[in-house]
Symmetry: C2
């Protein structure tokens, strides 16, 4: 049992959109990820997704019921939960640092499998 | 879907050792709690427990294999996970603010039921 310091863990990597596992509990993973630029539109069939921002600003494009899109901005000290089934597209204009809580089995791109899918996540 | 600002949520209550539910995802709860003074020795039979500190210092007394006790200190920007089955006694000399991730069904005092058991948690 060890105290995890987020800043120290973030210092251990520099790549973007490649989540790292830092801890597991109750079949959940705590992951850290650095993001910059656009990710991709996707949804998760069964899992809700939690994004907690520790640095920078995370934007998430979300569909509005009227067919338009909106941007939701999340900043340090804030988190947002995207429920399962909801299409979303995360992006960040400057580098942002995020903590994620996800079922241990979840793929980052879930319903889409492509070159951005990180199936075997690094543990830091 | 709404962005949750932790500082705003902490402003909404002042009592100690009385966790409030702020969000749910995947049958997990995100809870906020303010602590000051000693809690109690207890363990959780099945659930691992995650304490993330956003203000102040959290100390957790833990048993060492040789029968002695040690204190683990967790500070803002850090978290600690206490695995299920491990006896622990959280305390804080000055008020500390914590974010918890727990299965939606978990009692705060788990294997002990007494006046500190908060069975019906307030939602903020």
């Amino acid at each position: 049992m060890k105290v995890v310091n987020l800043a120290q863990k973030f210092d251990a990597f520099s790549d973007h959109y490649s989540p790292k596992i830092v801890s597991e509990l109750n079949n959940f993973c705590v992951k850290l990820v650095k993001v910059q630029g656009e990710f991709m539109w996707h949804h998760h069939d069964a899992e809700d997704e939690m994004f907690m921002v520790t640095k920078g600003e995370l934007y998430i494009k979300l569909p509005d019921p009227d067919g338009t899109e909106r941007d939701e901005a999340t900043r340090p000290g804030e988190f947002i939960i995207v429920p399962h089934g909801v299409e979303h597209m995360p992006y960040a204009t400057e580098e942002a640092h995020l903590m994620l809580f996800e079922p241990a089995t979840m793929l980052n791109t879930r319903n889409v499998k492509n070159e951005r899918t990180a199936a075997q996540l690094q543990r830091i």
